[in-house]
Amino acid sequence: MLIFTVCSINQLANAIVLGDSVKTHHPDYDFQIGLVDKESNIPSFIQCPYPITEVNSLNISGFEEMSVRYTHEEIVADCKPFFAAYFLQKTEKLIFIDCTTVVFQSISFVTDILNQSNIIITPQLLFANAHPDEKQILNSGIYHSGFIGLKKSEETTKFLKWWGNNTRQKGFKDMCKGLNADQLWLEHVPAMFDGVHILKEAGVNIGYWNIPERNINQLKSNEKLYSINYRDRAFPSDYREKLNNYSHKKLSKITPAYGFEDPNRPTIGKTIAKKIRSVNKLVDVILDKFVS
């Protein structure tokens, strides 16, 4: 049994904290890190306790083009299928977990499900009418690519080959075109592959996207809290403390070696500009009333 994550050096502290939480509950599982970065850029003050596989050692065909075409964030996500294929050579069962995740108890039930299935994917939402704007989730993906289970099989190999072909060529984040790096491709998976299990477990991969429908305290008291993914939101203080043990602040400032800075990353100026333009929309509303 092997659990892996993928990150650049700027998220290495996250990956180590994830590894620690995995090892706490599964001392017998392997935990490995796929690094979409240059290992030689890891500062000497940090000793990573888990084996690291550098992306260059995978010899992904077309990787150089990917590095030119994708943002830092996109390329990390888009290398996931290739790392999964690589790690599956070493193990029968494999779980991918986003590096921003912490595991809170044994997730061995996932490995049990893999006895009967090839691929496990995790919906972002499980309950109708709970999220205040369900179309946002429709837009970004029914399934979240931050928690995936895989069993070594012909079907899984087929899946990873297809997924990797798409992330290699069309791993952009462009929701208007139905693209969201590695994630939106998962929509096809239940129809395209056999032995796909849709994991409907409220305590798995809790994140900002499904917080409105998950009751963490209740899950905790029912011993059903498995993992929380802190991606894309301010980290809570207990998580930050753990990260600081591994020099997260310093590491997070290191620019990744592959991909480029996302020009659409929200900045204060852009947010203000957006607010100003929303005032301008009133002109249309008023004039439409006036004209009719």
């Binding site: 939402l125 109708a128 179309k135 491709w185 096809h188 129809a191 100026g269 100003i276 002109v283």
Partner: protein, 332 residues
Amino acid sequence: MLTLHYMTLIFTLCSVNYLAQAHTLGDSLREQNPDFEYIIGLVDKLDTKDIDKSKLPDYQLLEVDKINIPDFAGMCDRYDITELNTAVKPYYFDYFLKNRPDITNIIYFDPDIIVFDKLSHLTSNLVEYNIVVTPHITTPYNDDKWQNEEDVVNTGVFNFGFVAIKRSESAARMIDWWCKKLYEECKIDLCNGLFVDQHWAEFFPAFFEKVLIDKHLGYNVAYWNLHERVCSLKNEKWFINENIRLQFFHYSGYLIAKPQEVSKYQNRIDFEHRPDIVPLFELYKNKLLTNNELYWKNFKCDYIKPKKVKRLVRVRKYLKLPLEKLAQIFES
């Protein structure tokens, strides 16, 4: 011997201009599945039009203003004709669930479908499952043609020219939720994740229980999956990939006015490279002509709104200019 007999109702939705298609679908059902009731839901009005009654198909017609959609006027106001036509789909399901307690299975087909077989595979699946949907594709395209895999993601991996439900708590919850969504968000707005009723259905397997994604290659055969399906005729029966019985064919985007084109929504499949599908389309064309397609196609739907014209374009531009300049400064 005790036999359980589940009553099945099939419906379609269209405006008067598509009555030849709905008629053709009805004929195919009458031939293959005479036990099933068939209703044409009409997103249109009959009595506002000067219609030759003798040409009306011999099937039940149920006009949309007769099924008590709450705030239907608001929906008409919000939606264009495509959006409105698709937004009423769950409301028809809801109407049948509430008003036809004798019915167990409800199946929706787009009007541009022909059913080619007895639907016993489907009805036996409805014993076990609450909801049956069909994927657009079950294998990759491996080409760069239109539409491609990401286009399918953007508009919905399941095709909603077909959906079937069994009366059940789960299906009723699904219909309730779907109605709620389509009341205001049955729009085509790809950048915001919206593509009429169809994209919402992506949630079905995550939100509801016993949803079957039916990969049977004889279901919903259409331009989007012909790359993986070859059609053949043996002893007057149609087969897919040699030995799978064709259940229903979906002539999406086919126009009698452009009979040389398979569909206006794609460029992957053409008749020249796919002689196997030529007779299926010949058959369809002839049936539509027999069912008065040329007569029906010119009727204008009562729910079509005049196009909104944006006026005072230049005034708007100048009024917005100062704030737009300010926004640009902040952006840079």
